[in-house]
Amino acid sequence: MNIEFRNITFKYKEENIFTNFNLQIKENDLAYLIGLNNSGKSTIIKLLRNYPCIGDILFDGIELNQKNYKSISSCCSIIDEENLNSISLDDLKKCFGYNDEDYNKLDIKSPQTFMDIIKLNIYYSLINNKYKFIVIDDLIDYLNSRDKMVIYELIKKRHKQFKKTILVCSNNAYGMIYFKRILVLDKGIIKFDGTLKKISEIERVFDELGIYMPFIVDLSIKLKLYNLIDKIYTDNVKLVNDIWKEKKK
């Protein structure tokens, strides 16, 4: 599914959140949108829910409006704090793609905690065939470090398997290493749009905004400066193997 924000202008309490904002999330995109507090991330979610604004929001080229909102939104899963559903194991089993191995990794307790509900909502959207476009707003940041890793791995795996269009929004850069496309939003403006390959550009934008690099990327940048490695790594083992190429345990 292709999603396009075209010339969007949106005001909240007399404050301009977006002015002529343009963004395209292409079919099969695996995108990570980083934005500090009040950058406009949650407004993007509101706009996908058909909040009134100036400009067009297009789903596969069709303009979103009150008449078609229900049919368009039926194939989109927007997961944020306002829209968490209770999901049972039976609901999951009805979905093609349900996999016990992945489900077990989620470590769901009984009764379910708030974190379990977040994990289940994300998992359900990932395995449910009817959802072509998934947006997750901030919720992964609520999970503990172990669960974050499990969920990001799962998103990456299911994206590859089912070719869904996925957009994850966060106020930090922790999860960006799992994503193909990285977007940085600041005060309603896209400050960066690209991949990890453009690391010096990302570094400049992060420095300007006060966003921390994920540890492994930060370490790679520093080691690269000292000519100990020549590329950016997202995996500890590969990085260690590159630094100490000759050394065997």
Binding site: K13, N37, D107, T113, S145, I211, F215, Y226, W244, K249
Partner: protein, 223 residues
């Protein structure tokens, strides 16, 4: 949880797995004179900031003090007639910190600050707390499920699981106690994970640290 020997900055971290552990944690641990900064939407259901401050600040404070504490936490709000419901989540959380500063409690406990504040705001708050501890000798407690945040910012760490504290260590000693952490379903902070991989795969013994620059120098020495 008695006050221990003074740590460098007095910021202590409690690592928990999720929200539900927090209630249990504060039921089990009794701390006197503590400001617990816990975000609850209900708190903001008052007509204006002035009413909210009356609810949250238990002493008489001047407008100047209010403005000073607002600016210390990075709030621009100076209109006490503002409806708190119109504030963003991050501003609401900052407002709770400002209230704790106005109350001047000896101990301030922040519950899951990383849920509400981005890197920039968190770093500003931590700088403020470090400065406060040096000047005013405050004890700051951070409760979070983010092992990286706790390890980076806190000098003393308490790991809490299934109703009890399973580990109470200085952050320098966390690596040596990693088995306890891992056996209880937690993960290592990213920086320690790298140190562990270097040890496991190449038998390189790097010095455990929470400072990436120190790690960097150590890697350089070991190549």
């Amino acid at each position: 949880m008695e006050r221990k020997e003074k740590v460098k900055y007095g910021i202590e971290g409690i690592l928990v797995k999720d929200f539900d552990a927090v209630k249990q944690l504060f039921l089990n641990i009794k701390i006197n004179d503590i400001a617990i900064i816990n975000y609850e939407e209900d708190l903001f259901l008052v007509p204006n900031l002035y009413m909210l401050l009356k609810k949250m600040v238990f002493k008489k404070v001047s407008d100047d003090k209010i403005k000073k504490s607002f600016s210390m936490v990075g709030l621009k709000i100076d209109d006490l007639n503002t409806d708190p419901l119109f504030l963003t989540k991050s501003d609401k959380f900052k407002l709770l910190i400002a209230c704790a500063l106005l109350n001047n409690n000896e101990t301030i406990a922040m519950i899951f600050p990383d849920f509400y504040l981005d890197d920039f705001s968190l770093s500003k708050i931590f700088k403020l707390f470090n400065k406060m501890d040096n000047n005013l000798h405050k004890r700051i407690i951070i409760v979070s499920n983010d092992v990286n945040l706790i390890f980076k910012e806190c000098s003393n760490l308490l790991i809490y699981n299934d109703g009890k504290i399973i580990l109470n260590v200085n952050n320098k000693d966390l690596f040596d106690n990693r088995e306890i952490l891992l056996n209880n379903g937690f993960v290592l902070p990213d920086i320690l994970k790298f140190i562990e991989v270097a040890l496991d795969k190449k038998n390189i013994k790097l010095v455990p640290t929470n400072d990436i620059k120190e790690l960097m120098k150590d890697v350089y020495r070991n190549v």
